[in-house]
Symmetry: D2
Subunit: 296 residues, 4 copies
């Protein structure tokens, strides 16, 4: 069994790493905030004191981090993964980064003899715990096949899309739909609110209708109850929207609706909603409609 | 049992009227294209030769038409519904019109002593046949209650939103989400296409993910197969988007994302996609990305 | 010399009518607020007590009103223009209305034997006083020629575009550019503001640059000084933007940038800036950027 | 008199460098395509064979290049400016780059003891030849003052905005207005075209109106004549729009209109208009309106 390293034990990363430990893989983990590694230790994982130590102990290293700079930061430097690794190792980056960033990372670690899979996921903390995430993979086909078992501990649906960067692209496609669905929900609710409709009833109708995706089911109660404790902070979706726009810009794909959603999220973040769940874009629309954003 | 009239036997109207006939209500129907009334005749409905005749034979008249002008056209004139009706009658308009148009219709027929329910629906031809539509109702509460039984023949979910026009508003809120979800899907697929992803595989991933609403499930195969035989013609959604924008304009609700989708549909219609299913907005995006819109 | 009637003595209408009076044309005027007719009376104009009376006294009637409903209101009814007019008369509507509205008005008065010129203007109150407006004319060519002298009293530049509605179209084209230039100025200034640039200096640079149209020259000081006393109220531009969007929708011309500006103005109006000059869209952008809208 | 170096002898750079030579400053120039240096040689400038040689011969080095990567490329490497320079030198970057890129460049050369002014310009090739450009300056105030004479050879209007990056910001603000004005003009002309207006006449009206900036005056004939020989290639404006959006994203300034223009330019570039003048965005709108893009 491959020796696995895991860096980034956040809301998603921790349960993903736990499923690898439970799956019987020898596991070494690292997190900037060391306390988050406790649950992993209880499952038999070794807690390293630096990314370098993780790499030294592993054949495959998984990163699940906030953005490309964070990946860059754990890769490089005296205490970085590359400093502790050896040629022939595999980096499996499951963070949401742009295809261009993903290819840049792959090319950088290739210079040290590593191979890379970009393997971002869809699904929230529930599927992360149950090991039923969707995983969107880019990289060499045989590298993917060789690590299918590890991936299967975290995800139920594995999709192999092609060369490095294509998993990252697929993730942006998916997140684009997530943002559009929630922005649409927020505009519908704002239109309902200023029209004087009962939002609770409107929410019920939406939930019984053909637009009621799992995502919409999760967000309707947040909007109706005006409770935006962050499942997925708006500032993170704002970052992802920026990656989509940059990618469309480079490839030559106009994304007018996404561009619009991006600007709306820029406003929402600038107006103080960055740390709320991204469904709080509803509050931004209320404000722009001249309505109070207070409940009731 | 109330004597029911039904005007507008299109893809949605015909099965809705059939369910009323099967429900045992005495039914008189009219359609501009008379041949469409055959199936109703077989179920025992009377086929009238004018809207006036429908009104003369009925206590409640249901209209299910393309837009507000079409409703206006069957109401007025020597052969119109109002010419054949009597004070105390009820108009149940199930067409998709704007709240302002809905209130104008209600006010016009009120001048002849009629009452009105606006009662547009969600759900496609499948639920229309099964009598499991969602129905979004505006009008007097007691008028709604008095016609609950008729509505129940057509729909499983009845939502009473308040005074005239509020059913129409709720329908626009719902259709706004429909348009945003499909526009988002189309942009995701266009980004995937120019990135060189396998769209069939991307579609599979989307269908396994939290964004896979019933609507998205229906549209993914159309886009992947580039087959846009119209379930819901793009030109009709373009009309509905215009109603949303006008309503937002009047009420003072900015709908930036919807405004964007509206302009995209204007382009798609102008470029020849008006009679295709509205998921053909994907082809418009391909063209704007400099890609061929031909399959394969 | 033709006997001229003039209805609508607002900020633009009053000086325009005065130039006709000074030009020697026998003039009868009407305004809902009668006091506004004083200056005209001093120039020898007759003040009528109703639109009907204006029509009875005139061969040509000019309307310069807020929107199509206002034109409709002075045309119809017992006291309306049509009630006082005769076949062979000419309506010269100089209001900003949509091409569709303009053609509807032309068709309505044609039913009474009147002919119509749509003749909206560009230029603000300064050129209105000096009689140097631009006039964008639609209607029969010979009707235009027959009234060239009257038009010349109000405007220096006369443009004949073609059949009824084409003057209205040209005006929308012009106003579209006005809105886009001011929205662009406002975004540039908002970007400068949040970047910490000295807006006074940025304004000076803009005014020395190739983007410094007369319009931009007028609006820069309003934005720098945050003084939005209305030269042209935002709510009126919001109405005009709605006409553009409706016209693009009907004709099949996507106007994505204008659609965007429209939604921004919807927000600005909903947030209380409707009665300020339309350059106050800058304040709306500041708010959306999380900045204080207070001066200093 | 300071010894000046100049790298980047394009359409703008060449006449700017010539004005420095004519102004009596000892000048050393470099361009990747050496033939472009001929006119400078004739004015007494030394032609270097590498950026390194330019730096070795100069106290101040001016760069006027396509983008930040191009600036980066001439700075670094064995033949780069930094390799040939000495502490105390000044880099005057007149390229259009983002504020973030500008600050990164300043910080990088500061590591070698250089100081930086960001000094992008407004005005086209005409003012470049006449030495009447506007120059938007960021950097240390005393560095600016010490180089005022050199700047004055190229520009008539000098604006000092503050620390490094603020000249770059002001340039983006200016270019934002340029893009918005031309996009507005293009939409107005597309609306006119599909309405059947005579575009030549519409152009005349626009040129006589308050929106007729110098920029609009230059672009109207291109659109009317459908001749888009590049004064300023669309792909460069597309790049600049990307910088604006990134800057708004980072600073938290929603730029909805600019975002829209950006997506429109992405489409125009993807559809083959990248090497035409950016007024060719008009052709993209024609195509989206279902019209032929051929003249006549």
């Amino acid at each position: 069994m491959q020796r696995v390293g895991f860096v980034g034990l956040g809301l998603m990363g921790a349960p993903m790493a736990e499923n690898i430990a439970r799956g019987g893989f020898p596991l070494t983990v690292f997190n900037r905030t060391a306390s988050k590694a406790r649950s992993l230790e209880a499952l038999g994982a070794k807690v390293a004191s630096s990314p370098k130590e993780v790499a030294a102990a592993s054949q495959v290293v998984i990163t699940m981090l906030a953005d490309a700079s964070a990946v860059e930061a754990v890769l490089t430097g005296a205490d970085g993964l590359l400093a502790g690794g050896r040629p022939g190792m595999v980096l499996m980056d499951m963070s949401t980064v742009s295809p261009a960033q993903s290819r840049r990372i792959a090319s950088e670690v290739a210079g040290h003899g590593w191979m890379t899979l970009d393997a971002p996921v869809f699904g929230s903390t529930g599927p992360a715990k149950e090991g039923t995430l969707g995983i969107l993979v880019g990289g060499e086909k045989d590298v993917f096949e060789a690590h299918r078992e590890i991936l299967s501990k975290m995800g139920k649906h594995l999709y192999y899309f092609g060369p490095n960067g294509s998993g990252a692209t697929a993730k942006l496609c998916f997140n684009l739909m997530v943002a559009a669905q929630v922005a649409g929900l927020a505009e519908a609710m704002a239109l309902g609110a200023k029209s004087g409709l009962d939002l609770d009833l409107l929410g019920q109708a939406i939930l019984a209708s053909p637009v009621a995706s799992t995502l919409v089911q999760r967000k309707v109660p947040l909007i109706v109850g005006r409770d935006f404790a962050a499942a997925f902070p708006l500032k993170h979706m704002h970052k992802d929207l920026g990656l989509m726009i940059d990618t469309g810009h480079e490839l030559g794909v106009p994304l007018p609706v996404t561009g619009e959603v991006h600007e709306l999220f820029t406003a929402a973040k600038a107006c103080g909603h960055g740390d709320q769940d991204f469904a709080a874009v509803f509050l931004q629309l209320l404000q722009m409609a001249g309505l109070s954003t207070n409940p009731g």
